[in-house]
Amino acid sequence: MRAPPEPVQVVKGRRDAALERLVGGVPFIAFLGLRFDRRGDELTSVLPFRDELIGNPILPALHGGATAGFLEATAIVELAWTAMWEEMEAGRIGPDAPLRLPKTIDFTVDYLRSGLPRDAYARARVNRSGRRYASVHVEAWQDNRARLFAQATGHFLMPEAAQ
């Protein structure tokens, strides 16, 4: 006899708690007002529009630096989330385990069009993840998923002795 599947609330509770621990501990994510929506293991970061994020008040447009911070934070959370997923699912990450975050080595932002004064969304994809280095691509859009307003690629140093 196979063990019965875990109740859905248990699975969701474990995943949401792990994500909250990852995101809630980073002051800069709160500074930006960034949230993360989760569907299974897929994360979408949401940057709700606020006046403080404006860089050009005449257009008005999002500040390129705000867009970059949004993309970099999304890339780091996705990478840490992907790296911790298996251990987390196996229940091997205690609630008091220290938060080990990847460190950015380099980050290149490609500004495709100006960011409108609206909410923005981003998803990151880990293209390569080794023991030491990882390469992550991230795309951001506003009204239309197919019309990106910025994209970025970065390299990251993975924390030593991950988990």
């Binding site: 501990g25 980073v26 002051p27 800069f28 709160a30 500074f31 930006l32 006046d51 403080e52 994020l53 404006i54 860089g55 050009n56 008040p57 447009a61 999002l62 500040h63 390129g64 630096g65 705000a66 970059a68 911070g69 949004f70 993309l71 970099e72 934070a73 780091i76 220290p98 938060l99 080990r100 975050l101 460190k103 950015t104 080595i105 380099d106 980050f107 290149t108 932002v109 490609d110 500004y111 100006s114």
Partner: protein, 145 residues
Amino acid sequence: MTPDLTSAARDEIAQRFISALPYAKALGLTLVRLGDGMAEILMPWNVQLVGDPETGVIHGGAVFALMDTCAGTAVMSHASAPRRTATLDLRIDYMRAAMPDRVITARAECYHITRTVAFVRATATDGDDRPIATATGAFMIEPAP
């Protein structure tokens, strides 16, 4: 040669450029030096900007915004007096973590400009000889009329 603005007028444009940016204000950026395609901007350490709660190190995204703003300001202060600029792309390399509690200083230089594009490099330090980060970028410009 197109008629040039006075250097005081250029400084004024660039000063206005940074003080009119809500996000630069939120980060606490201060323009300290400006001239002929060069800019220097400070960002004080602020607990809200921390990216790694275990170490107190400022998030790369905040350093990126400092570099981007400094690079854009350097473009605006160029002798050719562009009216407007926007980042096309910017790459940042993080050499080491910024020390908690230290002011980060970015210096940017617009080293080449054409009618449509400006090329900029920038360095960020925190009071030590070794830089925290370097950046290179291309900026679109709207030329003076």
